[in-house]
Amino acid sequence: MSKTAPKLRIATTSLAGCFGCHMSFLDMDERLIPLLEHIAFDRSPLTDIKHCGPCDVGIIEGGLCNADNVHVLKEFRENCRILIAVGACAINGGVPAMRNHFSLRECLEESYLDGLGVDNPVIPDDAELPLLLNKVHPVHEAVQIDYFLPGCPPPADAFVEVLTALIEGREPSLPKNMLRYD
């Protein structure tokens, strides 16, 4: 790792996910600090950059449950050289996709019309709210994905290996204990 090489620019986002993958990213703990000599953050929940600019790596947590998720995913694909889907929700839809067994209308009615203690029962429909998709989709159904990092969430060690490999310009090598499915 040469210190004079330009920093790898990384953008991250959480779509229909729980932020657990981002938390696992932070679980690199103090190992993140030396990595900062080689990486810089673009758009991310950790920064105040609101739109993704040209980047080397995009990290996507979560699947697609509404129109905004689709817009953000496309913004990332257009700007990121390498796109990585991380975690069960981005790869398979995960827990949010459990609503695919029901119609969207049934889900909305249960929450806003039939819920316990609901006052002013109405389904929110303001123009500021993103259009919900009928079904929750994994991200590879909408754009080309370059790497898939499994786990709920992927372990911090896997993030360290993937970032280190990309900084060194080699393919990531993930031993079995870093490929998690729980």
Partner: protein, 488 residues
């Protein structure tokens, strides 16, 4: 919204350095006077529906995946409800202590994350400072010692969780009527070895936040408002985050209810739906929809309790109360100060529990007789969290109701955004730095929204999902009634 067409719309989208996604919209007239300011939650999951028909014992494992920042809170909130479903009123002493230890670890890591990783850039660099520097990387460069302590505080909380639940995020801890595994002696000793340093760093974080608040009168006034407060308290009035009764106080300090059995929560709280947010607006039934909104979380808990049962945090609480001459602290940015007092309490409590010989006990499960309904309530890092389930004869979920902590702060966050918009932005040339002031108001509450948004301008009325070969996978349109139709 027809009147809105005459106004200029500004959106902060997404609100950043919060856990999850929301957006703030402003409507300004020709002279930049603020006509409307709203904080929208754009998340919709449908959990209450899709959990129906699932076996009750799965619930604590699903619900933690609603939130990767405080999975333990959802896990234990649902776990407490499931205890009632299996007819267990009291766990074994070891199981209770393990759950408390787990929850203190969770609250410590979440509070550390919020201050050091998310909010400290505003408080240390300034609300209108350079947005390129205003993040955790900027803090690591400018305050490397402080940042490293923050990273290690969060790490320690996560290690406590991993020791009990098997992994840091989405582990396995609570079982119906108890806990999954005992704490090993090696794990106990390893955690205890680092605890005094952790307590010391939490104490420094309290001092830093107290100093920032007391030395900046503008922080004291920032989004200050009179609100009601709701929190759990122990039977003796102590600060309590795992199990106790509910206490609600009016903004004048008078009591609305006290030591209320939380299984009666639906008698005292209702939730209003408003069409412009997926998050509901809860209020105290006794006060009604207009004035019954309340705040939850660290500010509420530290205000509401009579004392804290660990010495260093209690000293810090007394200084906090002295600041308001013994009354309720209503400063919105005092959330940060109260949050660090709680972090200190968590660290002290972790030491006490790890020093308790019963913590490594192996008697972990109690059995009872199946019941139809279970209500679990816990103080999550962000405030009071309600999990309510009803099951059928087969043990499958029939009805579920959740009030998550951030929901209770919905009205308060909107009031805060409006207050800051009126005092800082009204009539001004809008700059990025001024817009960040609105986000600073929201961040004080440490909201957890766990979903995503991204849209500028009008929402499209039709959306297409196209795969990488260019063919349309899904096409949806929205009718004027708000109904969503699939076109293919």
């Amino acid at each position: 919204m027809s009147k809105s067409e005459n106004f200029r719309r500004i959106a902060i989208d997404p609100v950043s350095r919060v856990e999850g996604h929301g957006k703030i919209t402003l409507l300004l007239d020709a002279d930049n006077h603020v006509q409307e300011a709203r904080f929208h939650i754009v998340e919709f999951r449908g959990f209450e529906k899709f959990i129906q028909g699932r076996p009750y014992e799965e619930v604590p494992y699903f619900v933690q995946r609603l939130c990767g920042i405080c999975p333990v809170s959802h896990h234990l909130g649902a776990g407490k409800a499931v205890d009632q479903l299996v007819g267990v009123d009291a766990l074994t002493p070891t199981a209770t202590k393990l759950r408390r230890l787990l929850h203190f670890g969770q609250t410590l890591q979440s509070h550390a994350l919020h201050f050091f990783h998310l909010s400290s850039p505003d408080l240390l660099f300034g609300f209108g400072s350079n947005p390129q520097q205003r993040n955790i990387v900027g803090i690591i460069e400018a305050y490397p010692d402080l940042a490293l302590k923050g990273v290690k505080l969060r790490k320690f909380g996560q290690q406590v969780i991993a020791a009990i639940a098997g992994k840091r995020i989405h582990g396995a801890a609570a079982l119906p009527g108890g806990m999954n595994k005992p704490l090993g002696e090696d794990e106990r000793r390893q955690l205890l070895a680092g605890i005094d340093e952790i307590i010391g760093w939490c104490g420094e974080a309290v001092t830093l936040n107290e100093k920032i608040h007391l030395e900046h009168p503008e922080n004291q006034r920032f989004a200050k408002m009179d609100s009601n407060f709701l929190s759990m308290v122990a039977a003796d009035g102590a600060l309590e985050i795992y199990h106790g009764g509910l206490r609600a106080r009016k903004s004048d300090g008078s009591t609305i209810f006290d030591h209320l059995d939380y299984r009666k929560y639906f008698e005292v709280i209702r939730e209003e739906v408003r069409p412009w947010s997926y998050m509901k607006f809860p209020y105290l039934t006794a006060l009604g929809r207009e004035t019954g909104w309340y705040r939850v979380g660290p500010l509420s808990r530290v205000n509401n309790c009579d004392f804290i049962n660990t010495p260093l945090a209690e000293t810090a609480r007394q200084r906090f109360k002295a600041y308001a001459n013994g009354g309720l602290v209503q400063d919105t940015l005092a959330y940060h100060w109260a949050r660090m007092i709680e972090a200190l309490h968590c660290a002290e409590s972790i030491k006490q529990l790890l020093s308790d010989p019963e913590i490594t006990g192996t008697d972990l499960i109690v059995h009872g007789e199946r019941q139809q309904e279970g209500i679990g309530v816990i103080e999550a890092p962000r405030g009071t969290l309600f999990h309510h389930y009803r099951i059928d004869e087969q043990g499958l979920i029939e009805k579920a109701n959740l009030i998550v902590s951030t929901t209770s702060n919905n009205q308060a966050m909107n009031e805060s955004v409006r207050a800051v918009a009126n005092s800082y932005l009204d009539g001004q040339e809008i700059t990025e730095g001024l817009l960040n002031h609105l986000e600073v108001a929201v961040r004080a509450y440490d909201p957890c929204l766990s979903c995503a948004t991204h849209a500028l301008g009008k929402m499209p009325l039709q959306v297409e999902l196209i795969d990488d070969s260019g063919s349309v996978v899904d096409r949806l349109s929205k009718s004027s009634y708000g109904e969503i139709e699939r076109a293919i």
